[in-house]
């Protein structure tokens, strides 16, 4: 199939969507489709899709909106939630039909009440993920919780979700993830063809677009890029440093531009809006609700869930080995307790394993971006990189 566009124009399309989520929601609503937003992370979008609604991740942020939440949320809570609520208050999400907030920390646990009070949508739900993941009770409970969410969605959408519809949605999502993984692997080998900003925007836009359309676009992109690799057209910019990233989200997004400009490639991460989002699939055999739960327990560990002792450390160390990363860059949002609790031990364990690591603290609508630039540059220089 001949390519309709060139890679650059596909990146441009993605960038536009990320830059203006409100316009994107408007565009999507032109059809009769109902849109259900979800707050990161780990909401089973497949269920929303199977119910016939369009899931949209609340992942593209608008810095000036933070201040709008000030009368409702203390300034010492994380800027991710302050920004999301601020955007809602400013009307950015007025076209949503519903919103699902997973309880993954004290802030998400509390924000639902505030949100319902200040900006209710017709459908609102707290998705209550289990926080312990090692014991059998967790799996039974999660299957039940998936069932509860399914029933609520069915009621809201006034239809039943059949097992085969859910399986179809799972397949669609798995396929989308598998292509993104291919792109990611191409990105880690050939960042000069697919840099950090474009790769991570591809992941972000997959949360903001109908999966079918996104899959078509990235399949086309993959084809073009693979051809370039085959034709040995991989010259251009040099990337000398390989970084593994860790944190809740890669905000502010300028971080990826900074890495691109400094010649550092992100070879993996445990961001909820990054590689972790695409790292693993839902098993396509068996009872689909059970499969959705199974995926949850095999996802990359993050601070929200208490797993086998040291799991996250081991997982990061393993990823460093597999990706041949030169070091780990932690990107932590100010006031994000789960990350802040994990950090000191992660830092010490990585250092004890001889893995250089560095933490930057970010805040949406906070510090000027130049600050991060200098900090990251210092770290990269210490790794012997720099362009």
């Amino acid at each position: 199939m001949p390519a309709r566009k060139n890679a650059k124009s596909i990146y441009e399309d993605f960038n536009k969507i990320v830059a203006n989520p409100v316009r994107q929601i408007k565009r999507l609503r032109t059809g009769a489709v109902r849109i259900i937003g979800w707050v990161p992370t780990d909401v089973p979008e497949e269920l929303i899709h199977a119910a016939g609604a369009l899931p949209i991740g609340i992942v593209a942020l608008d810095n000036p909106a933070v201040s709008r939440s000030a009368p409702h949320m203390q300034a010492w809570s994380c800027s991710l939630m302050r920004c999301a609520l601020g955007m809602a208050l400013g009307g950015s999400f007025d076209l949503l039909n519903g919103l699902i907030i997973p309880v993954i920390c004290d802030t998400t646990r509390m924000v639902t009440g505030i949100w319902k009070q200040t900006k209710p949508y017709v459908f609102m739900d707290n998705f209550l993920l289990p926080k312990q993941i090692d014991r059998p009770s967790a799996k039974d409970y999660l299957i039940g919780e998936m069932g509860r969410l399914k029933a609520r969605l069915e009621q809201f959408m006034d239809r039943t979700i059949t097992a085969s519809e859910l399986c179809e949605s799972i397949k669609l999502y798995n396929y989308n993830r598998s292509i993104m993984r291919k792109l990611f692997s191409l990105h880690t080998c050939h960042p000069e063809l697919l840099g950090n900003k474009d790769m991570y925007n591809i992941i972000k836009t997959s949360m903001l677009m109908p999966k079918e359309l996104h899959t078509n676009m990235i399949a086309e992109l993959l084809q073009m890029l693979e051809k370039k690799v085959d034709d040995n057209k991989s010259g251009g910019k040099k990337y000398n440093i390989r970084l593994l990233m860790s944190g809740k989200v890669w905000e502010p997004p300028e971080i990826m531009n900074i890495l691109d400009s400094l010649g550092a490639v992100s070879v993996g991460d445990d961001f909820c809006t990054g590689y972790r989002y695409i790292a693993n699939d839902v098993p396509e055999t068996g009872e689909p609700l059970r499969s959705l739960a199974e995926r949850q327990f095999s996802r990359l560990p993050i601070a929200a869930f208490a797993g086998k002792c040291g799991d996250r450390t081991n997982s990061i160390i393993r990823m460093v080995g597999e990706t041949h990363a030169d070091g780990v860059l932690f990107v932590h949002l100010r006031y994000c307790e789960p990350e802040n609790f994990d950090y000191p031990m992660l830092r010490d364990d990585l250092s004890a394993s001889g893995i250089p690591n560095f933490r930057i603290e970010t805040e949406i609508g906070g510090l000027p971006v130049e600050n991060y630039n200098e900090q990251i540059k210092t770290f990269i220089d210490s790794l012997g990189g720099g362009v």
């Binding site: 509390m110 319902k116 707290n126 926080k131 059998p136 802040n340 609790f341 000191p344 031990m345």
Partner: protein
């Protein structure tokens, strides 16, 4: 306890607390496992299994009351723990890294039990402690109960209690003793009943006992619930309060106002706040915090009943439920105004309070005040700002009640 003639029971409290801590040290020496537990963990099971339960949160509160939270926290901050984390956690962690230990050393755990019904901070803090001390960490995961508790959640937690019993049997090498559990639960019931009766005395006008006293006398209902100790302690306290009533001894003899105080107190400023209210003849009489332990257990269904009480606690409830509970306490105690504390240590209590302030004002018509501070860390305490806020609040209270 503060300005009123001091309670005899306060001395008893000090003696028993010292003895409890000594017992912990002795238990450790004898090889009885020290089990860290959280305030809403079903400690009855730990007592019944013969372990020694220890409350790092209580340790944190003691550090705070001694006004040394900032110094102890500094030791944790030096390790990379951030000053915006819950101060109890910072102090518990800080103690492990400190050389100076003004309230002694936190008792090292042999096993760490945690319920996240209160907050995610405990989950993270205890998980870190399990790794630091290299001991097992067992989490009872308690999903938020927004409105009515669902069968799904109840079943999940009962399943986890069974897993806990399995864990304990393997850990201790003994089969779990359900008749011992029944004894422990009866003692819990008795202590909770007494605690409730004591709290209710604050509704009398003038009252012999108020919220700040309750904060002082709260530790036994949390830590010794399920033991004869707690029962004996609250019998003594209740007896003393009854004597006070007979002798007409009140916290504020010419008490003018009753107030609702939401949340934990500012520990290092307990007396300061009590005096601030006293100057305007106002007594804080009720709080979701102190009322959280007024439980009743059903001996016929011990596990289900432990689940019910420990997981349906206010802090694990949704926005509207908590709001209604605050208002119903305000009604029950016939308060004239309310105080909300936006505690930066405690997001699960503080987030949403500004909207709640407006809603409570609207629904009750009562004057209120909301202030920013930290329950432990005086670096976040601005005396002038609070005096000014409270001055305005009291002026409104006076205007509106005349």
């Amino acid at each position: 306890m503060i300005e009123s003639p001091s309670f005899k029971t306060t001395n008893l409290f000090k003696r028993m607390m010292a003895e409890y801590l000594e017992r912990g040290v002795a238990a450790k020496e004898k090889g009885i496992p020290i089990a860290w537990v959280t305030a809403t963990f079903p400690v009855e099971i730990i007592y019944a299994a013969g372990l020694f339960p220890y409350y790092p949160e209580n340790f944190g509160a003691r550090i705070a009351a001694k006004k040394v939270a900032a110094a102890i926290s500094a030791a944790a901050e030096k390790q990379g723990y951030f000053p915006d984390l819950c101060a109890y956690a910072r102090c518990g962690i800080g103690n492990a890294f400190s050389i100076k230990r003004p309230v002694g050393e936190v008792l090292k755990p042999d096993v760490v039990f945690c319920s996240n019904a209160q907050c995610g901070s405990l989950q993270k803090w205890f998980e870190a402690a399990g790794r630091y001390y290299q001991v097992p960490f067992f989490l009872i995961d308690t999903p938020l109960i927004e409105n009515t508790p669902t069968t799904l959640i109840k079943r999940y937690i009962v399943d986890q209690l069974h897993e806990l019993l399995d864990f304990l049997e393997l850990y201790t090498g003994n089969t779990f003793n359900f008749s011992r559990l029944a004894e422990v639960i009866s003692l819990s019931n008795e202590a909770c009943r007494l605690w409730n009766e004591i709290l209710e005395m604050a509704a009398l006008k003038p009252a012999p006992f108020g919220y700040f006293d309750a904060c002082y006398h709260l530790a036994p209902i949390v830590a010794w619930r399920g033991t004869k100790w707690a029962v004996d302690y609250y019998k003594e306290l209740k007896k003393e309060l009854e004597e006070r009533l007979d002798n007409k001894v009140y916290v504020i003899p010419d008490e003018r106002y009753k107030l609702y105080f939401d949340h934990i107190p500012v520990w290092p400023r307990l007396r300061w706040f009590s005096n601030l209210l006293l100057e305007r003849k106002a007594l804080a009489v009720a709080s979701q915090y102190t009322h959280a332990w007024a439980w009743r257990f059903d001996l016929n269904r011990p596990l289900e009943s432990l689940v019910k009480n420990h997981t349906e606690v206010f802090i694990n409830r949704g926005y509207e439920y908590r709001l209604e509970q605050k208002i119903s306490l305000m009604n029950e105690f016939k308060v004239d105004g309310f105080i909300l504390f936006s505690n930066r240590s405690c997001k699960p209590k503080a987030l949403g309070l500004y909207d709640k302030y407006n809603i409570i004002s609207e629904r009750t018509g009562l004057p209120g005040v909301i202030f920013e501070a930290d329950m432990s860390d005086e670096r976040y305490f601005n005396e002038e700002y609070i005096k000014k806020l409270f001055g305005e609040f009291f002026d409104r209270l006076e205007r509106e009640s005349t």
